[in-house]
Symmetry: C2
Amino acid sequence: MFATLKFAALLLAVVVCWATQDYDYDDAEIDEEPTLGDSPYGSLWPLPQKVQISTVVFKLSGASFHIFDAKESSSGASCRLLQNAYRRYDEYIFTSSRKQGKNKSKKALSSDMSELQVWITSADSECDSYPSVTSDESYKLSVDSPVAVLKAPKVWGALRGLETFSQLVYKDEYGAKSINRTDIHDFPRFAHRGLLLDTSRHFLPIKVILANLEAMAWNKFNVFHWHIVDDPSFPYLSRTFPQLSQHGAYHPYTHVYTPSDVKMIIEFARLRGIRVVPEFDTPGHTQSWGKGQKDLLTPCYSGASPSGSFGPVNPMLNTTYDFMRMFFKEVSTVFPDAYVHLGGDEVDFSCWKSNPDIQKFMEQQGFGTDYSKLESFYIQRLLDIVTTINKGYMIWQEVFDNGVKLKSDTVVHVWMGNKVEEELQKVTEAGFTTILSAPWYLDYISYGQDWQKYYRAEPLSFKGTDAQKKLVIGGEACLWGEYVDATNLTPRLWPRASAVGERLWSDGDVRDLNDAYSRLAKHRCRMVQRGIPAEPLFTGYCAHEYKEV
Amino acid sequence: MFATLKFAALLLAVVVCWATQDYDYDDAEIDEEPTLGDSPYGSLWPLPQKVQISTVVFKLSGASFHIFDAKESSSGASCRLLQNAYRRYDEYIFTSSRKQGKNKSKKALSSDMSELQVWITSADSECDSYPSVTSDESYKLSVDSPVAVLKAPKVWGALRGLETFSQLVYKDEYGAKSINRTDIHDFPRFAHRGLLLDTSRHFLPIKVILANLEAMAWNKFNVFHWHIVDDPSFPYLSRTFPQLSQHGAYHPYTHVYTPSDVKMIIEFARLRGIRVVPEFDTPGHTQSWGKGQKDLLTPCYSGASPSGSFGPVNPMLNTTYDFMRMFFKEVSTVFPDAYVHLGGDEVDFSCWKSNPDIQKFMEQQGFGTDYSKLESFYIQRLLDIVTTINKGYMIWQEVFDNGVKLKSDTVVHVWMGNKVEEELQKVTEAGFTTILSAPWYLDYISYGQDWQKYYRAEPLSFKGTDAQKKLVIGGEACLWGEYVDATNLTPRLWPRASAVGERLWSDGDVRDLNDAYSRLAKHRCRMVQRGIPAEPLFTGYCAHEYKEV
C-alpha cells in the first residue's frame, strides 16, 4: 500500500518539474530522520537527470501490453540481451498479475498504454559487446498513449531506460497498473559506478552473486569489482594453476568458482550492462596463493632461521614474474573487461625485513632500508607484464602514493579514510583517472540511517580544475567480507548501496534527504517485491513484505 | 568441513573434562579476535552444566537409529509434544542423508548406537501443559552403545536434552554420523531466558516468528517476549475490539495477527518449551491504539485548543479503565502464560501538561506538578485490573522506580543502560524478582564481534546478598524493530543472541572467549545447515553455506 496508495495520492497534485533541483544541501546531523513525505518523483531511483511527469494517467493491461523493438531500431529479435531484458521487465511490471495468460482479443481502451517501443538509434547497437567505461548509457523515454517510446543510442541506455520505465508503473487504488504521461532524458553523471564484493573472506555462492548483480542493475550500477581472492582463501579455479584453489580455497570443489561459473557470472552481468573487473591483489593479501604455489611467497625468518610463516609475494625471484606472466595471461582471456584490478594495498614489510636474502637484494638494488622501494620494484614489473597482455589496470592508492610509474590510462582507487580530498587532488593533478571508495565502505555498520552518510558524500568536493574533476570517473561501494556471507550480505548491502547508486548516477544537485527518503523507501519495497531482501530504512512497512526468512 | 573435520580431529586427543571451568575472564578489548581453536566440547551450545566426553566413538546408522520412549517413561506415544520433537531431531541429525528410507533388515554393528531412549521420570510429564517460570528443564544424558538414555523429570528437560544430543552428533572424515560416549547432567542457571521481538515498528510475518522460535529452542531460550503493539502499528486482532487493528495496523488484514495466528504461535512455542509473554505497553507507546479507540488517548493542546495530536492513555477517564478491563480480560484468555508484560516505559509528560482537563485533575488529586504521580495513578489502577483477572505481570523498570505499589510476584524488567548494577541492587533489595536486558539490546549494531560484549555481561555482578541474587531469574535479548523486518531480522539476531543464550543457561564460570568462539562458529554453521541464516562471527566458512539469498 505504502508504495502505491501514496504515489496515487500525489497524482492529485500538478506535478511538472525538472529533477535538477537547486542545491539545498543541509549538512545537519546524520541521525536526523527525514520525514516520509511524498516525492513528486514517485519511486524513481536513482533520479533521472531530467524528468517531466504530467498528471495524465494511462492504464497498462497485462493482457495486451507488450515491450517491442521499434521498427526503426538497429537492434532486432536477434538481440538476446534486449529480448531477455523485455522478458525480465515484463515480469517485474506484471508480477503475479498476469495469471490468466494473454488475451489478445481484449480491445485496448483509448486511455490504455498498449506498448513500449524500444528504439536503438545508433547503427551499432553493441548488443553482442561487453560494456566498457566509455559505453553510452544515455536514453530518452517518452511515455504517452497508446505507445511509449524508449530511444537509446546503444543497448546499454535501453537497459537503463527499461528499469526507469518499470519504476514509473504503479498500482492505482483499484489495483490497476498505471503510468503517468512522462518525459525523461537521462544519462549517468559518472561512467564508473561500481560495487566491490569479496569472495575470499567468505565464499559467496553463485546464486548470491547473481542476485546482487540483478539488484545492481535496478540501481544502475555498472561495474562488479570482484575481489575474488585474498589472504583467507583462493576460490578462483585457474586452468593454468589448478593447485591454487585446490590448496588455497576453503574447499577444493564446493568453495570454488569454476571457469564455467565465472563465464556465467560475466554473461549474466553483461546482459545487465555490468562490467566484471576482477581483482587479483598482490604482493600483499596473498596468504592463500602460497598454499598452492611453492616459492611464490617470501619466507619469514625468526632470527637466523625460517619461521615457517610467509609474507608478501617474493619480489626477488624470477620465478615469481614467470608465474605472474602466465597467471595474468590466463586472467586476461577469462575476463573480457579492458581492465584488471591489481590491488597493491596494505603491504606489510615485517616479513621482508626479517629475510636475509631480501636484505641482500635490497642492498644490491641500492634500496637502503626503504622497503616501499622494494614494493614499487615488484609492482613496476607486474604492471609491465599486464601491459604486455593488453590490459589496462586499476590499483589501490598506495601504488600511486609510492611513486610507481603508471600507464596514463591507469585508474587509481582512492580508499583511505583520511585526507581524501587531498588525495583526489594529487592523483588528478598527476593526470590520472580515479575512482572513489573512501566514503563508501559498507562493511562498516552502525546503528541508524547510515545511508544518509553515503548519500551526502560528494566525489567532486575537492579543490581542482575542471580538467581535474573530469578525471574522477566514478566510485565504488565496497562490502568487504570479514562479517558477511550468504546469510546476511544482501540485506546489509541494499538499500545502503542504493544511496551510492544515486550519488553516482544522478545530477550532483540532487541532494534533498527528504525527497530521497521517500523515493528510497518505495524503491526498497520494490526490491523486496522483486525478491531481494533489502532491509528497511526505518519504521514502516511494505505492502508485500519479504516472503522468506 | 569446518564443523566436522575439526571436531573429528579433536577425537584424537583424550577429552575427559568437566564443563565448569575455572574463572578466567579476561576483560580485554572487545574487538580482540579469539582464535578459532578447537573446543574440547565440540559444537555444544550453550555449554551444559556438566559434560564428560570420552574418546570412544559410536556410529549412528540412518537406516536403523531411532528415538524412542523408554518403557519406563511416564510419557508415551500419546504425547504429541515429544513425538513431534523426535521427528524434528531425527531430521536435524540425518539431514538429507536418509534418502533411501528405512532399511530395517540392516543389522546394527556392535559399535553402532541404535537408539536414544527418552525417559520421563516424573509421574506427571507435563506433556499437555504450558511451560512456566518454575518448569523443570533439567535432564541427564548418557550416550553409550547400543543405547543412549535421556532422563528428564518433565518433557521440558527432554526437549533440552534432545537438542544437546543432536549437537553431539557429527560426521567423521568418511561422512559417517558419529557420536562419542558422553555423560551430561544439565540444567539452566536462570529460569527466564527470553527474547523480545517487536512486531509494531515492522510487521513480522508468522513464518519469521516461527523460524525464530525454532532457533530459540536450539539455543535453549524459553521465553518469547512478544512486544506485539506500540506507537507505529497495532497488529493484534482483538476479538473484543476489532477496530484497534482495523484502524491501527499497517493494513487491516495483510499486516495483522488473527486469533488463529496467535494460537498457532503459542502452540508452536509450547512444543519447544517456550513461553509466550505478550506485552501491551501503556500508558505511553500507544499512538496506534488511539486510531481505533476513541477517547483512549489524551488530546494534546496547543495553547487553549486541542492541537489534533494525542499523547499517552488518558488516565482521568473511567472509560479508559473500562476499556482496559475488557481488553486485558481478553488478553488473559488468549495468552495462557501466567504473566503479561504491561510495559510502563518512557512516558512523555508534555501532552498531559498541555491539557487543561488533566491539569485540573492533577490539582484535584493533589499531585501538584509531579506528573510521575499521574503516571503511577494510572499504572496502579491498571495493575489492580490485571490482578483481578489472575495474571501476574512484568513491567519495565520505570514503574518500580516511580514507586508504584507492586504485587510481590511482579517481575521488574531492567533495561536502562546507566546504573544497571545499582538498579538490580535496589529492585532485589525491595524483594522483587527481576530480569535483565540492559546489556542485550541487539538492535544496536556495531562493526566487529559484538557477540563478545553480550557474552561477557554478567547478571549477578551487582552487590547484594545471596537472597538478592536469587531474585534475578534471568534476562532477555531485545531486538527492537526500528531497523529490522523480515529481510534482515534473522541474520541480525543469530548468532548474536546465542551469546546471551549461553550466558543465561550455562554455569557462570563458563566465560572462555576462545572456547566460546570455537563452539559458536560451529553452532552457527549448524543453524545455517538447519535453514536459519545465522550470520558469520568472522572470516571463515561453513561446509554447507546458506542456500538462499
